[in-house]
Symmetry: C2
Subunit: 487 residues, 2 copies
């Protein structure tokens, strides 16, 4: 039998200090959800460690007591991966935000997990370097959270995900041991547990020190915005660019509804009457960027772009990006409530899937705004609904679910960069066979035999998803029996 979480409080105060432990119910409520609106109640207790040693001591205490823990970075996640456990310890990394080293000779930065993504680039910039992964939330999201979710961003078409930029981790395992995975070099002998840890959503432990690759800032960046009458025409431009062998840093697309939302929110002044806008950004050596930029511009024109704007300087570039970067939040201006979906399809299936999404929307009367990383087939449909209307949220959830089914049908994936968390745990059996899921569970249990590390996230459990092959046994249900809170 696990101890009640309250029994741990005196020891937690010894480890983290009085100001490092939050027990007050109102202050604990701040941590009720992350970037997506799920509620599982308030965390049993919140701790704010400042060092690896404190994290290890807290986790060891949880392990000895059978009490679950949930790691949390900046709380910007979009899959409820940091949803707290009402009988558990929430370990928040917000006080671990030191940049420990900027090692330009080896092109690496070493940081604590609470450091905000953009701070790494700020620290490297004076040396002419930057950190490539750039989720839209990069001003606030933490590098530790990026590790947990293997975060992407607009530029992962060319530069890859977080996993491609992390070369070393210090990790506290669910049994409270501190281990090192990788280092400053590109490859290490033994199992590449580094790659498996990145994207493990807090279920294998907590990264307490992170070594990332720094890239030399590109010599030149050029950005264009092309307006098309239809999504089909925009999609044709994307295909033409990629198959011509042009590799942009980013290829982003927005449909009429998301353009409307962005205009309402930030007056981004995109070309009026556009059924689709495409943002194409190229970076690299100047000679190469110029040649490819001209090529991409011509391909947009050939695909029917009725207006093409090119950014003359950094200000104009920022203006082009403004509409895209604010799109998610902007949708709040045109709809009281919405679901942000995240799915992937092979690039070749994009036109077909977008048409099917339009049909789904027409049939159900639920509006869907499409904002997406077109270059790598990562869709972010925003499913809009009025939460005051009866059954609107259920209908929206149904449409949202059907969009994911479409992704799976077309050989894609249920998440491109937001992660599984609680949000998509029940969809894992639609993508993976029972043998696949059992293998993942074996792996997880090797790290966490007690089942205390972020339980009920990532893999399906019977309480959330029903009993079926490949579904792991419940260990620490997020909500204790009998509490009224509802997912």
């Amino acid at each position: 039998m696990p101890l009640p979480v309250t029994a741990l409080i005196p020891r937690l105060r010894e480890i983290c200090g009085d100001d490092g432990v939050i027990t007050d119910p109102n202050r604990r409520r701040t941590y009720e959800s992350d970037g997506i609106t799920y509620h599982a109640g308030t965390p049993g207790v919140v701790v704010l460690p400042t060092s690896t040693e404190q994290v290890a001591a807290v986790v060891r205490l949880c392990s000895e007591s059978g009490v679950p823990f949930v790691p949390r970075g900046a709380g910007t996640g979009l899959s409820a991966g940091a949803l707290p456990h009402s009988q558990g310890v929430l370990i928040v990394t917000s006080r671990m935000r030191r940049i420990l080293e900027i090692d330009i000779a080896n092109e690496r930065a070493v940081v604590q997990p609470g450091v905000a993504n953009l701070e790494v680039t700020r620290a490297a910039a004076p040396h002419g370097y930057y950190y490539a992964p750039d989720p839209s939330s990069q001003q606030v999201c933490s590098v530790g959270g990026n590790i947990a979710e293997n975060s992407g961003g607009a530029h992962c078409l060319k530069y890859g995900f977080t996993v491609n930029h992390v070369t070393g981790l210090e990790v506290v395992t669910p049994q409270g041991e501190t281990v090192r995975l990788g280092g400053k070099s590109a490859d290490a002998p033994g199992y590449d547990l580094l790659g498996a840890f990145v994207g493990s959503e807090g279920t294998l432990g907590i990264a307490t020190e992170i070594t990332v690759r720094l890239l030399r800032a590109p010599q030149k960046v050029r950005t264009l915005l092309a307006a098309f009458e239809s999504m089909d025409a925009g999609g044709a431009a994307v295909s033409a660019i990629i198959s011509a062998g042009v590799l942009p840093a980013a290829v982003e697309m927005m449909d009429a509804l998301s353009i409307e939302a962005a205009e309402a929110a930030v007056a981004c002044d995109y070309p009026p009457g556009a059924g689709a806008v495409l943002i194409v950004e190229l970076d690299g050596p100047a000679a190469d960027v110029d040649a490819q930029f001209d090529h991409a511009t011509q391909l947009c024109r050939d695909a029917g772009a009725f207006e093409i704007r090119t950014a003359a300087d950094a200000d104009e570039r920022a203006r082009i990006w403004k509409g895209r970067k604010s799109a998610f939040a902007a949708v709040g201006r045109i709809s009281p409530a919405y679901i942000v979906q995240d799915g992937v399809v092979p690039r070749t299936a994009l036109p077909e899937v977008l048409r099917r999404i339009a049909e789904l929307s027409a049939e159900s009367g639920i509006r869907v705004a499409n904002v997406f990383h077109a270059g790598d087939g990562n869709l972010h449909p925003l499913v809009l609904f009025d939460d005051s209307a009866p059954e609107a949220s259920e209908k929206a959830a149904e449409v949202s679910g059907k969009i994911l089914d479409l992704c799976i049908e077309h050989g894609g994936s249920i998440t491109g960069e937001h992660g599984v968390g609680v949000d998509k745990a029940c969809q894992m059996p639609e993508m993976f066979s029972p043998a696949d899921l059992e293998t993942m569970d074996l792996f997880r249990s090797a790290f966490d035999p007690g089942g205390i590390a972020n339980p009920e996230k990532l893999l399906p459990t019977p309480r959330l998803c029903g009993e079926r092959p490949g579904v792991r046994k419940d260990v620490h249900p997020l909500v204790a029996e009998g509490t009224a809170e509802q997912f």
Copy 2:
């Protein structure tokens, strides 16, 4: 108690057919060692499956009987990773060599594990694509073996290792289950077990179907050879090139002794009197390559190159590479025996480590030829000795070991691309803490609770390395007690 391996033969014949099972002692002897000369005796039995189903059935049979198995590709490995088990089944993939799909629209190839590395590029070339990882043995080594060892090659400075080019695997686990890791897209939800499988040296199972990324052939390739009076001067050129932000596809360096060996073997006609030659290859868009090539040439000149040759066409490029690619084999011309070492140091530590290697060589009287991937700090010292001289092999092994110690001291690694296998299992505790090794062992045991998948490889065992913290327990010692064969 495990069954004797001979008890499995009738069932193995049912699974693989009579011609798919080798029991004849002389034929079994062919499989005694791989690319490095260790001997642990002949395999108990050899099977040559043709399909995933046959592999799975063989592994299930091993698992039920407690009999160990060893996977083997083309047998070109350099860490004794495919060393057979005298009481086990050797599973050879040489009959699984179909290219299943060349999917140009999604830039992927799907192949069976026995396909030779270079065959993938041959199949993709008519479409203007190629497969990037290029170990020196690429004409014969298998893609499955490349997966097991996470193979690199001369061009991994720019393009990364095998792990950066595999997006999906079908795998038979040590319990005989067939699971899928990843697919055609760049990212998948759940644990990235794909990354952990690549480089797992056959200890987590056998890859039976492999999906790799295809890259568009670069528009232009340019290659130069620069001759320097000393290794120090050549090393300075490498540092200058990298810190100028030039990213060559390959930067290879050879010292006087390896140049001498290459001349003796293939008459590569490198500039006479060179203390070091540097090969620099750039690829990419023509405009970019030309600009960077001129820059790299100038930097070599500034660092003191007394002769620079540039390849005018593919023939001349092949001639420049000929000396480098034949260097390992060529050393046989100037020394009766030698050890190929494989270590990594941070690029910044290269000059210091090379000086220390020269000192070690002078002190011991053992000649060391240096051939290496200079751009990423991956050393391949060839430690030469006369195996007819008393204690020469012991002295050479001592120098070879001290070179690895140097790599570790300087924050590097005991292997860059050849793997751990049997060869370096006992050195793992010098690089990893007991907690690190226990974590790896937990992971391995989650996949392979019976300890039957390539036992005694990768992680240290007491029989080979003595008892100490972090050393896993012996499960299936490669050589049964009392047999005379010696490592």
